[in-house]
């Protein structure tokens, strides 16, 4: 049983690692284009970056890194505290509301043109 679990574990670790490497390689070569990752709307001639998206990106990175750090350090999946959820909630809520406002302004612009 232990040998089978070990074998499956190695296979999964290698497979997921390879998938991740392919994704990273394609991001590096530009096959996966992240040019508009932070842009609000790509319909315009000059798309501009959105601060809400940037905030969401930063908090996601920081919390993912912290979660991994704690998991490795403790050897156990940590309890997600309420403040972490609140942090992501504030950031995500701001992003969603910003997107709604942007959609509203886009539609009102189209209506006026």
């Amino acid at each position: 049983m232990g040998a089978l679990a070990n074998f499956i574990g190695w296979m999964l670790a290698i497979l997921i690692g390879l998938f991740a490497l392919v994704v990273l390689y394609r991001i590096y070569t530009g096959a996966i284009d992240l040019k508009y990752l932070l842009c609000e709307s790509t319909n315009t001639d000059k798309p501009v970056a959105s601060l809400a998206r940037f905030q969401f990106l930063i908090f996601t990175f920081v919390i993912a890194l912290c979660l991994f750090l704690v998991t490795v350090s403790k050897g156990d999946f940590p309890t997600i505290s309420g403040s972490v959820v609140a942090l992501l909630g504030i950031s995500g809520g701001s992003y969603v509301i910003g997107k709604g406002i942007q959609a509203g302004s886009d539609s009102s612009n189209k209506g006026s043109n």
């Binding site: 990273l24 403790k74 050897g75």
Partner: protein
Amino acid sequence: MNKNSVAFVLGLWHKGIAGTEGSRGSGLLVDCREGGPLVGAALVTFLRYEVWCLMGAFFVLIGYQILTGRIIMRGLLLAKDSRGCVSPARIQLLVLTLTSAFYYLVSVMDDPNRLPEMPRQLLLVLGGSNLFYVGSKARRLLSWLPHGEGQKQKEGGK
């Protein structure tokens, strides 16, 4: 339970974990209760390095693309109105975001055994800052709406 094997599996990331945590320190993938570990220590070590490398590469790649301009950062601090000047609402949100993120990262570095609580005051300030930013965006939209509605009415009249 063999504490030495647990300490080896978890690595020497934080000395003394295995001794103080007891059975809780046995980890997610390693079950030492019956007949030794479910998966090998080598696999756990491999996974740890794999995730570190992949996450590191991902962060570096995104950071590099942001710094070199491949990910568009143009207009991050500019108001999206006709004037297009620097928006104070955006500056304060950016500063607070970076401050909160840095504070949280440093808190975890200080005590990597748990996810720390954010101070309530900082959460409130961050929430207020986001509200201010969203409010300024909404105000811009509301200032456009009557113009658009007026034009629609004019077009309807014709």
